[in-house]
């Protein structure tokens, strides 16, 4: 698609971002990269991706709209341009997804001056990796059911509890952490911390293994971990409000601090290519009418999502301000899932071959992508919960509980 209508200053930045990415694409990764930041497993992958984020930050493509005193560039409206350019260029994604999209904006909204100066620059540059400690064995969709306890002791808090599904926990220096500080109020009894993780006494990070056989997320145990009060974000008892800020950014309903997609720019094209290369029952899959229809359905959903993003910026064509933004995560994750599923279907017998098999199409990409796609339909609030939110907040239907 052609460039959106930009002011001269923005057009110049757009040109700069495009050119910089063109000239500074990173060398091929020393080892195979995962499909998204929540699947980064090895130190080699981490170092490579951390280096890439650092270079993008130095180039001014990350944190563009953040104040200079917190490590940003102090612009306005530059980040979405940079994000688009990053998305279009075939470059790796930003590893520090929690730092960029959740920690940094939340700290900017709720943090003290000191906290903003201390935490935001490292989150933007990727020098400090963040993870998110919201989910617990008993607190998933019902996130307010937090059982991890924080008890005040002098200038510190003593934390005990069990966090699960912690993406990037194995590389993280910091965690955005929700704890229970009062048993009397479900929502008002929560407090939000910026908790030290790596090497911190009383904190244990243990990998969990996904259906793909890979790890990527973890469980994190807090056993009498001492966390200074200076790491508390906003007031005691305001944890739920702060967490809602985080979720707004996590679910893509607000512009984040930066990031590329890393995905092939046109997933439908990748599927079409697969169909062209695949023979099924002696016929090219790209000539099979049913497959063609399925491919076009995918193409239409993908284009629809791109055009939703465009229409979301035209208030005259939006009946409700949150109607399109709140669909982003739901539609995006299901699009990826259906794309991957279609890839599996087209690959046919060869879709049974997995990563190690040299005959597997794209080194087992399709079954791997399909399995991994559930990470995105479950994480960040399951798609069932997203449908509840849309039905209640946008359509105004009765709360389902």
């Amino acid at each position: 698609m052609s460039a959106p209508h930009l002011s001269p200053e923005h057009a110049e930045f757009h040109e700069y971002a495009r050119r910089w990415l063109d000239e500074n694409a990173p060398p091929p990764a020393p080892e195979r990269l995962p499909l998204s930041p929540i699947e980064v497993m090895t130190v080699g992958q981490r170092d490579y991706l951390q280096d890439w984020q650092g270079r993008c930050y130095e180039a001014g493509l990350i944190g563009c709209d953040y104040p200079v005193e917190y490590g940003g560039r102090g612009h306005q409206g530059f980040q979405s341009i940079a994000n688009q350019a990053l998305g279009k260029a075939r470059v790796p994604f930003m590893i520090n997804v929690v730092g960029l999209n959740m920690a940094a904006p939340t700290i900017l909204h709720h943090g003290s001056e000191e906290q903003k100066k201390k935490f935001i620059p490292g989150a933007l540059s990727g020098s400090e990796i963040w993870c998110q400690g919201f989910s617990e064995p008993g607190a998933g969709s019902d996130m307010a059911n937090q059982q991890t306890q924080a008890i005040p002791q002098g200038d510190n808090w003593i934390v005990n509890g069990h966090k699960v599904w912690t993406s990037l926990g194995h590389f993280a220096q910091w965690m955005i952490l929700i704890t229970r500080t009062s048993k009397h109020h479900k929502y008002d009894g929560l407090t939000y911390f910026l908790a030290p993780i790596e090497g911190h006494p009383g904190v244990t990070v243990r990998p969990l293994v996904k259906i793909t056989g890979e790890s990527g997320f973890n469980e994190v145990l807090f056993e009498d971990a001492v966390i200074p009060d200076s790491c508390r974000l906003d007031a005691v008892g305001k944890g739920w409000t702060v967490a809602m800020t985080t979720l707004t950014y996590e679910r893509g309903a607000a512009e984040s601090a930066g990031g590329g997609s890393g995905e092939a720019a046109r997933p439908t094209q990748r599927l079409i290519n697969l169909a062209r290369e695949t023979q099924r029952n002696g016929v090219c899959a790209a000539d099979d009418p049913v497959t063609r229809d399925a491919l076009m359905q995918r193409a239409i959903v993908a284009e629809g999502l791109a055009q939703n993003a465009r229409r979301a910026r035209v208030p005259a064509l939006c009946d409700h301000p949150m109607r399109l933004p709140l669909q982003q995560k739901l539609v995006g994750s299901e699009l990826s899932q259906h794309n991957a599923r279609l890839g599996v279907q087209i690959a046919g017998a060869h879709s049974m071959l997995y990563k190690l098999d040299s005959s597997a199409p794209s080194q087992g990409y399709w079954p791997l992508a399909y399995m991994n796609s559930y990470g995105h339909t479950i994480a960040a609030g399951t798609n069932e919960i997203q449908r509840n939110i849309l039905g209640e907040r946008v359509l105004g239907l009765a709360k389902s509980k």
Binding site: M1, S2, A3, P4, H5, T268, I272, A275, R276, C284, A286, D287, P289, R292, D293, L295, M296, Q297, A299, I300, V301, E303, G304, L305, Q307, N308, R310, R311, R313, V314, A316, L317, D319, R323, L324, Q327, L330, V331, E384, R387, N388, L390, G391, E392, V394, L395, G396, L397, A398, K399, S400
Partner: protein
Amino acid sequence: MSKATTPPGFGFGEDEEMLRDLARKFLDEKLPVEALRKLVAEAPEPVYDHGQRPPWAPGLWKQIVELGWAGLAVEEADGGAGISMAGIAGLVEEVGRHALPSPLISTLSAALVLRSAASAPGREQLRRIALGTTAALAITPASGSWEPGDCGITGTRQGDGYLLNGSAHFVQDAFKADFFVGTARVDDELLLFALPSEAEGVSLEQDHIHDLTRDQGTLRLSDVRLSAKDVVSPNGEEVLQRAWPGLLVLVSADLCGTSEWQLQTTVEYAKNRKQFDHPLGFFQAVKHPLVNAMVEIDRARSLLYHAACCIDMGSPESLEAACMAKSAASDAGAFISDRSVQLHGGIGFTWECDVHIYFKRSMHNQALLGDGVHQRRKLADRLIGPIGATVENETA
């Protein structure tokens, strides 16, 4: 064709917004759903049993002509408003939302085709449209093929004119049209012509359709004389191909409008009707499908404005974008139509409930110019390549 830069907001600016808001206000006032029901659905017998033509409101149409809507697709130089396709889409969404029975969409369609011809006779007809003359397209053969170029009328040369014979089918709002814009096969050419409904040898036969908000007919031509000045273009196929994305946008916009009405009406019902001590919307088997319908409608609407904007920009992607819009709008329409009846329960199955009026208009529009499957077949030919061409493509 040069690739123009995309305007902000699909080119839907202040003028377009004003036109749309005005249309909404006007139709809210003139055709609230109670008035619509009284007009078109007082009882089933007249139309369904006795074969009467579905009623409409010529008085309201007169006011619409005065508002200038009939000439929206006519350029200013020819006396029209020359509004952008994005603006027209906005207005037609309102027309769909109110299920307005009128010759508006058929006339806009004819105007788009005449404009695409860019000929002196075509402009002559456009000037008449701007003054309130109504028109309809007569381009579809009995088979119901939506391929521009397939047609059921043949012409033979006679003097400097032609003699036309044959029939055009599925003519929308045929009985409201003052003249027809049609196609006739003459040897290898496809002639685009304009023909008054009163012309000698022209007859109209009514189709009995389920939609209560329009009429439809078969146009029969028997030794109809066509003078040279009524030939709009000798390259009818090209003209139609160029206009096609616009035609798809009009029907898609109507579908987006009816779908949004169906969604909001069903949501309202799900908020008010209680069972098991809860409003229906409390139950996720009700809530989630309504959210899914919203997602589909929004997809269709975004693709609609994208297509309209492509047309306004003269983009080579216009047809692809319009096929996508029509596919998404047809499927969204089918889904919310289904849920709108089901989630109203027993009352939704009755003549008494308003949802059937929209259900039928939507169902008609889903099929018109080709449903989702049809659009995706056309799209596949463009994005993947025609069936059997893959190998050649790869080596090329």
